[in-house]
């Protein structure tokens, strides 16, 4: 080997040594399209619930019938995944080994199902009766034909569906999708992401929940029109307190609605919307920035914010006859609020604890 060849070989060796640690980086850079989401995330949550319900009826209906008479049944399906089928009078805690912290079995119950505290359930839960999830437990998914109660600081990580009522105690967390055929009730400091029910109650309702009566006659407020015939009502707009507006309010800046106003129309602001106390809005509210809704407000239409929505105490979104939608990146809801329809917190949703307001 000539000196030149040795030098070239040595340079190649040095380059190899330099590039070797960076090979994983090249793998990352050359990765083309992002990985497809797992099938569980691709499907809609409601479809997953229906699929699970179908699976229970097709594969476990006979076992549930047997368990009613013969007691608990343990087994595994054709894929080797274990399951536990409980009868009406069986308790899951009796089947778990002492000190058990994790349950990797699918659990189905012909009657009520009690999940012990601090237990981690890796698989779905199904009960023909009520499901009680005790404190600090963590469950993946739950489906019940009756009520579901989530205990203090217990967590649901995927979805939960009940044919009647869902109760979430103080500090409970609902990550993912939660749906109830009748009502969802969340205590203070409960966290949520996607809720769907005809009636969703946040925290304790106030003692006197009757909405203050609107004055019979209020002054009418005509919003100014933008010059040059352009649509909208200018940059910033403030509706004085106690006025009625029969128009859509469209501003490019901040929109402020005073106390006791009644808006018959939609609100749209490019920046933020601030709504005072006891305001009635017969329309939608849409803002790119935060929306602050004062206490005692009633909004019939959907509320949408790309940022944050703060809902004051005893406010109501939608009605029992007209379901609505509340969507925001962050939802901070005071106690005593009621929503009808869907509530989606894309990033963070929480029922505020009014006893200890943030400093």
């Amino acid at each position: 080997m000539t000196p030149l060849q040795a030098l070239l070989a040595f340079i190649a060796l040095c380059l190899l040594c330099l590039l070797l640690p960076l090979l994983p980086l090249l793998r990352t850079l050359w990765r083309g399209t992002p990985r497809p989401a797992p099938p569980e995330q691709q499907a809609e949550a409601s479809e997953r619930v229906e699929e699970f319900r179908r699976m229970v009826h097709e594969q476990f209906a006979h076992l549930l019938h047997l368990a009613r008479d013969s007691g608990p049944i343990r087994g595994a399906n054709e894929n080797g995944r274990p399951f536990i089928v409980l009868g009406i009078s069986n308790h899951l805690a009796e089947l778990l080994p002492p000190g058990s912290r994790r349950l990797r079995s699918l659990v189905l119950a012909a009657g009520h199902l009690d999940i012990p505290g601090e237990l981690i359930c890796d698989r779905e839960l199904f009960a023909e009766g009520r499901i009680n999830v005790a404190h600090n437990a963590l469950i993946k998914s739950a489906l019940s034909q009756r009520d579901i109660a989530i205990g203090r600081r217990a967590r649901v990580t995927r979805w939960v569906r009940t044919e009647r009522r869902l109760d979430v105690a103080e500090g409970g967390q609902l990550k993912g999708w939660a749906s109830a055929a009748m009502e969802i009730a969340l205590a203070r400091r409960a966290r949520f992401e996607q809720l769907r029910a005809p009636r969703i109650v946040f925290g304790r309702l106030p003692e006197d929940a009757r909405r203050p009566r609107q004055p019979d006659t209020v002054a009418r407020f005509d919003p100014p029109l933008r010059r040059n015939g352009q649509p909208g009502n200018g940059r910033n707009l403030t509706v004085p307190a106690g006025h009625t507006v029969k128009a859509d309010l469209l501003v490019s800046g901040k929109l402020v609605v005073g106390d006791g106003c009644r808006i018959i129309g939609d609100l749209r602001a490019d920046k933020s919307i601030v709504i005072g106390r006891d305001v009635v809005i017969e329309g939608a509210a849409y803002a790119d920035g935060p929306i602050s809704i004062g206490p005692g407000c009633l909004i019939n239409g959907p509320v949408y914010s790309r940022s944050e929505v703060q809902l004051g105490a005893a406010s109501e979104i939608g009605s029992s006859t007209h379901l609505s939608t509340l969507v925001a990146d962050t939802l901070l809801i005071s106690e005593g609020c009621i929503a009808h329809g869907s509530v989606w917190a894309l990033h963070h949703g929480e029922v505020l604890d009014e006893r200890s307001p943030p400093a």
Binding site: L7, F10, C14, C17, L25, H135, G151, A169, A185, A187
Partner: protein
């Protein structure tokens, strides 16, 4: 609107004992994981002991590799020297270094280095923010070191033997402390003992194999660019580069368990 009755009721019944105190909870956690913790400590200690025990073998490997590399490369008058490590606990050990007589840098070499530093400073201005300032700092550092080295009567801050010996000692120290570093970082994330050992051994193997190549490359570059390049070389391709390499390999190893999903 609803009636005045409160709607929220905590209905979840508890079949488990009441919540335990924080101390009890941590004690329970430790009881479940004490075996894993001890096993991780044993792995880290065992690997450190293994690397310490095979250090004489590694010296022989590095000596032979460096002898072969110096014989093949156009390094005039370069010779392998063994120098005692000045660290008290390791004073009996002799690490490999490269002895290379260098002529003092002349004015032409000084101009070339200063010109290169100026070019680097100006070219860095064309780059985006994350790269601009470090390259400008490097150019300033190189210019200052070149001027300082040239002003010294010996023609350099230190000799090439000391330069290569420092590189060698740092790589050996990194090799011996690697299991402890991995135990504090990688072992927390990775639960498979086989992967823990494999990742540590792979990074150690990289350090072992590349050390003679690195020393020879430094000697070749210093012979080409004179002793004025030694401080900048030490800064860019010395210990900082070793830490960068270990970090890159650690980041790769830490994604093994997630890459399977």
């Amino acid at each position: 609107m609803n009636t005045a009755e409160p709607t929220i009721q905590v209905i979840a019944t508890t079949t488990a004992p009441p919540p335990r105190s924080l101390f009890q909870r941590y004690r329970h956690l430790l009881q479940g994981r004490i075996a894993q913790f001890v096993l991780a400590l044993v792995i880290a200690g065992g690997l450190s002991f293994l690397f310490w025990r095979i250090l004489p073998l590694l010296y022989r490997f590095w000596d032979h590799s460096l002898t072969a590399l110096l014989g093949a490369l156009p390094l005039a008058d370069a010779q392998l020297v063994t120098i005692n490590i000045t660290i008290p606990a390791w004073s009996d050990l002799e690490t490999a270094a490269i002895g290379l007589p260098l002529a003092p840098p002349d004015l032409a070499m000084l101009s070339i280095h200063l010109g290169a530093a100026a070019c680097l400073y100006l070219c860095a201005g064309k780059l985006h923010a994350p790269f601009r300032s470090p390259l400008r700092l490097l150019a300033v550092f190189h210019a200052l070191c070149v001027l300082g080295s040239f002003a010294l009567p010996e023609g350099g801050l230190y000799s090439i033997e000391e330069h290569t010996r420092s590189l060698s000692i740092f790589s050996q120290g990194l090799l011996l402390f690697l299991p402890a570093v991995m135990a504090l970082t990688h072992f927390i994330v990775e639960r498979s003992n086989e992967r823990r050992i494999l990742a540590t051994v792979l990074i150690a193997a990289y350090l072992i194999v590349t050390l003679p190549v690195k020393l020879a490359a430094h000697a070749l570059l210093i012979q080409t660019a004179s002793s004025l390049a030694m401080p900048t070389l030490f800064l860019v391709f010395g210990p900082a580069f070793d830490i960068f390499v270990v970090t890159a390999l650690y980041a790769w190893a830490v994604t093994w368990r997630h890459g399977q999903g």
